[in-house]
Symmetry: C2
Subunit: 378 residues, 2 copies
């Protein structure tokens, strides 16, 4: 929603932050700790998108999506014991990273297909992002939203001209309602994450971040369906194979972290229930296209509790002065969790860590928010 | 608190925002509307600070204070009917602009004076800023804080090593307690606003803003004691005499806007009561040093209600994803108020308007906040 007037230039990473400058390693040098051979950059054909698709997406997004700023916060660095670089996708159009993948997908439609419009199902941010991308191209967007989605996200989709259809809060109901609309209108289905152009669009986050802060040891990325983290992993491992890509996943009250379970088992776990978590944007399950990327290129999955997420939200809002939704705070929750250092010696040794603040569409009026946020005040 | 990794470069004003670029006037061109002869730049000696003092302050602050980013928000622009450029001092060290003046003042102390420490009285942000500036120089800071100051601000002063002394919430009690400490310790009193080095430090906000967005028609600045707006007016009128400088002042439930009354009367009103307002940072009265600058260089004073301030807070937090305290939202409240266009034909004609988001130290746990913010949820 908010746009930086300036795109942070590559060279400025040393200048902007008033904190004492740290000794810098050469770009590409890995973290301290046990030496590990660089992973081979992903082959062009192995996955749903590759670095060329991501660079092409960046070219399409130029002048349409915001180059989001990177912020640092010395008081949070002290808590983390590392230097954290927050990629503020909360300032992206639509208030979340989703606009990148949605705009890239809509841009790739032929004029004829575009005229028939687009359709999707989403718990919120992808819905608003696709509605906005469609509005910018002047085509209709049919949006299936589960009834339990945050009101602010549904309102945003409507605000961008999306034709919103509410459905039951199950993936089956979402897919059925969406299929019906596609059959009736000829609209093109734009999946929320399991789609090459969406993955490529989200990957542009990493292109920007590694331009703004070239010598990161690790990037922490919230994971839901896996569109964002697979795009970021494909880009980051191509640019700097030594940069760790770490997933932050809510366990949920029902212990339903499917990315962690899938990585542990070495195959995609498809029977995990929907996680019961305050992070409404992190309740999808890994996709057929995102799983292979996560399997091969994501180094670790760090699971976090809702309490850790709320604590991270409070820190981001009170110390950084940035509004973040629960899903958007999961990355910091992971970076501050004991599980971060425990996940691997290389993670423990990571000094300079990128954290994706992926969304800021917080439903300030929702009782869930008030109760989760500051019970002292109620 | 949060620091941009990059300082927005002057040239980038056209690039960062994804909104369609607007036709740009040459730097220095005034707004449309009736032609008005440029005000003469302030003479070097007439006021407590001048442009040279402000440039010298900027040199002292370089590498210690953050160059805060400027954000734009197309949905808020639509509401305002103008292009607004938000100077995000919420991201300044200490979470407010106050660090600029405090650091400049502490930097100017001789080593011998510095050893005896500094002292001040403040309702919050100046307290934390002075404590931080003193901590950075390794000297003691004695901070007198009225009992009704927001807990988050008092905690911040303590967190930066400030020696906090609470007093009754009256200016007389604040000054008496501070004088006592100065007499006992030999500490140097650093006033919250009525002090040349403080005014010069706050003026650096305008140096940066007019570098980041050179061709502003107006700048809207919240006014309390007047340190920030006098510094900004001295800088802005020197750099671009055609740039309007507009004050945003809370009326308060008791209609106690002393800046508006003083401008109307042409002399400083000293008997106005403390305004009863949610904007806890805007309850001081104009000073002897700030009044002459405001009298001569501030074009208009726009008063706002607490409802307008709360509405502006909500917009900034929900649309821009930036956390702002009530005082920090007063500038947008003024920019969105009918009183803005009504204040003068030149204000009505202003197309590109800077708005200072001066502080983000919001007390999330305070009942006052929850009740004022979203009664729907309570």
């Amino acid at each position: 929603m908010a746009a930086p007037v300036a795109a942070p230039p590559r060279a400025a990473a040393r200048d902007g932050d008033g904190d004492p400058p740290e000794p810098r390693r050469g770009s590409g040098a890995g973290p301290a700790g046990p030496a590990v051979p660089p992973a081979a950059p992903p082959a062009a054909s192995r996955y749903a998108a590759n670095i060329d698709d991501i660079r092409a997406a960046a070219a399409r997004l130029a002048g349409h999506a915001h180059v989001t700023p990177v912020l640092t916060c010395s008081s949070i660095d002290k808590l983390a014991g590392r230097s954290l670089f927050f990629k503020c996708e909360v300032f992206q159009k639509g208030g979340a990273f989703k606009f990148r993948g949605a705009f890239n997908s809509v841009s790739l439609l032929s004029d004829e297909a575009a005229r028939r419009g687009v359709a999707t199902h989403s718990s919120g941010n992808h819905a608003a992002a696709l509605a906005l991308a469609a509005q910018l191209r002047g085509i209709p967007a049919h949006i299936v939203v589960p009834r339990d989605a945050p009101a602010c996200k549904v309102d945003a989709a409507r605000g961008y001209g999306g034709r919103v259809v509410l459905c039951d809060p199950t993936m089956a109901a979402r897919e059925a309602a969406c299929a019906e609309i596609v059959a009736a209108t000829g609209a093109t289905f734009v999946p929320p994450y399991d789609h090459g152009p969406v993955i490529a669009g989200q990957g542009t986050i990493a292109l920007e971040l590694l331009e703004q802060v070239p010598d990161l040891d690790a990037i922490v990325v919230p994971v839901s369906g896996g569109g964002m983290i697979s795009g970021i992993a494909l880009a980051a491992k191509s640019i700097n194979p030594r940069c760790l890509v770490l997933a932050a996943e809510p366990r949920g009250a029902n212990d339903a972290a499917d990315a962690a379970a899938s990585k542990a088992r070495g195959e995609r776990v498809c029977d995990a229930p929907k996680p019961e978590t305050i992070a409404d944007g992190l309740q999808a399950r890994l996709g057929e296209l995102t799983w292979p990327v996560i399997r091969d290129l994501v180094d670790e999955v760090i699971t976090v509790s809702d309490d850790e997420i709320v604590d991270a939200m409070r820190l981001i809002m009170t110390r950084m002065k940035v509004v973040v939704e629960p899903s958007g705070a999961a990355g910091l929750a992971a970076a501050l969790s004991p599980a971060f250092a425990a996940s691997s010696p290389r993670a423990a040794a990571a000094r300079r860590v990128g954290v994706i603040l992926c969304g800021g569409n917080l439903d300030f009026d929702a009782r869930r928010f008030w109760e989760g946020w500051a019970p002292a005040a109620l």
